[in-house]
């Protein structure tokens, strides 16, 4: 009833323009561009031709308004600089678009930005969210309150409110630590992640637990922030004060930093003098210069699960949250002999 007035300049046509051009009603045009609707072949052809002439593109925004499905999924990632997350993001994006969902990306420079991000998430009426960032219990509860299905990635879900996909730390660290012990290592240095990282703490706790099970205590402990620079700093601090024969880092990037300090600053041989292990399985860890012994997160399986979990919760909002745990795979490298 109201053909577009082209008031902005070269606007693209609306379904009314197409309808007029094709001599059908606007709702017929709408049907032609919607899957699973039945339109007479002849009508469909006329409409398609008219649409091409007018340069018509269905307006997803307008459709979202009425269907209450934006086909948008918010993906929140705290540190894209982590080298592991670009891979996760690429996989998530690939799988989501295969499901017809678009990615609204949010990255955090500082954790304090999270509330502003959540506000935007509510405003855009996303169909769901996959979050790889710290979320307080209150923030997780907000998703329930707003009716937005939430899947946490490598973060524990606060008592069943949110679904989550995690790479379990215990079995991986057990493989690493037990192997090192078996190979005769006794003096361990630990490089933890930031205190507010649940996965980081879980990994270090698991490592410590295995040591204690063997009647050992770590010789030294330092904290980093998952960055290479912090791996360098932590290792310098540790070897300045202690003599040890194994370093266990909470992630690969810090482990690579440790390797760099040991070999290029301290003149120590790896693994002859000191063994080093990490966690994640990032690409550079496998490069010949490092060949780090580590545990690789099953990114394919985890991202697949994250998307699948999200889809089912979008389809059935009432469904209870699920916590999925994946085991990492040992990647035997050259930086640690494992008994």
């Amino acid at each position: 009833m109201n053909p577009s007035r082209h008031h902005g300049g070269r606007q693209c046509g609306t379904s009314y323009d197409v309808a007029r051009e094709a001599g059908v009603s606007q709702s017929t045009v709408s049907r032609v561009f919607r899957p699973g609707t039945s339109v007479a072949p002849a009508t469909r052809a006329r409409v398609m031709a008219a649409a091409a002439r007018v340069g018509y593109r269905p307006n997803a925004i307008a459709a979202s308004l009425i269907t209450r499905r934006s086909n948008l999924v918010a993906v929140v990632i705290s540190n894209l600089t982590n080298l592991h997350y670009p891979e996760v993001l690429a996989e998530l994006t690939r799988r989501l678009s295969a499901e017809g969902l678009r990615v609204l990306l949010f990255t955090l420079s500082t954790e304090s930005e999270i509330d502003a991000v959540l506000d935007q998430i509510w405003r855009y009426r996303v169909d769901g969210a996959i979050v790889a960032a710290r979320l307080s219990a209150k923030q997780q509860a907000a998703f329930v309150h707003e009716g937005v299905p939430l899947v946490l990635y490598n973060r524990p879900g606060h008592d069943g409110i949110a679904s989550s996909v995690c790479c379990e730390a215990a079995s991986g660290e057990q493989l690493l630590i037990d192997g090192l012990l078996c190979a005769g290592r006794r003096r361990f240095g630990l490089i933890a992640g930031p205190a507010d990282s649940a996965v980081g703490e879980a990994r270090i706790a698991a490592a410590r637990a295995r040591l204690e099970a063997a009647g050992l205590l770590p010789v030294a402990e330092e904290r980093g922030d998952f960055s290479h620079a912090s791996g360098l700093a932590a290792t310098r601090a540790i070897i300045a004060a202690h003599r040890l024969d194994a370093i266990v880092a909470a992630n690969d990037v810090m482990a690579l930093g440790a390797l760099d300090v040991l070999r290029h600053e301290a003149g120590l041989a790896v693994p002859a003098d000191v063994a080093v292990v990490g966690f994640d399985g990032v690409a550079p860890a496998a490069w010949p210069a490092y060949r780090l012994t580590t545990v690789r997160q099953p990114v394919e399986a985890m991202t697949d699960a994250a998307v699948r979990l999200l889809l089912t919760r979008i389809a059935e909002p009432g469904r209870p949250a699920e916590q999925l745990l994946f085991a990492g795979a040992l990647v035997p490298g050259a930086t640690a002999p494992l008994g």
Copy 2:
């Protein structure tokens, strides 16, 4: 006039619900939640209180429909696995959100997906797009036709249709090649990127040009796909057939692959036997295990420019496209003595 019927479950309230609750008109509610509008302090307070009670969130989708501004920017990146692009993406996202714009992310597994991506871009009525992927002249023209401002990232704009920001290859390669020549290197091996990568070709062409200016031809040339594995393969192929004293790679990641083969497979000393240089300035290139001599792209300046270019074209759609060129900065490493 039409309070929400809560038909889905826990829907969040609409501006009508708030209006009724606060005893004002719906448009007053709208004003309260829009910057730059004047509302009596008392009214504003009443509305805010009512909004909190109702759990009201402005609906960005509905606002977009009428303002014809979605505040969405499409960001298209072809290979997030490139190690340089996560950094670019993080910076772009940070700057865009600082400008009140949201990122709709598209990644390409294969270049053939691009048309499907463009279709989605049109449907979501994005305010603009920043693209780091190959776009044909026709595809670039489509942006003009659809009225979507386009900024190409590290891709040349097809005769003034699209704006672009690029890291210029010539001056960087000149620093590298002239330095190597000055240090007495004469037998060069080149590792190019994929043939359809404009930046890759520009870098290798620039390197070749400097060699020719010195009366030299490359001893060997191989093509990779910017990945570490392809750097390994190219280097193996080159050194199997030729004796050389310098390798010039089209990007850092392949250069790191070259280093790995030279040192860990061929038993050659770098830079004593063979010098290696790259391009980009990715993080691992600076790590002690590599200390690659390279040219760093000014990511901050480039992403800043990309966003600024996009903003001005959004503000003034008639404005002609601009091509911005940035010079890279030499990062003297330990893999190549530069005369």
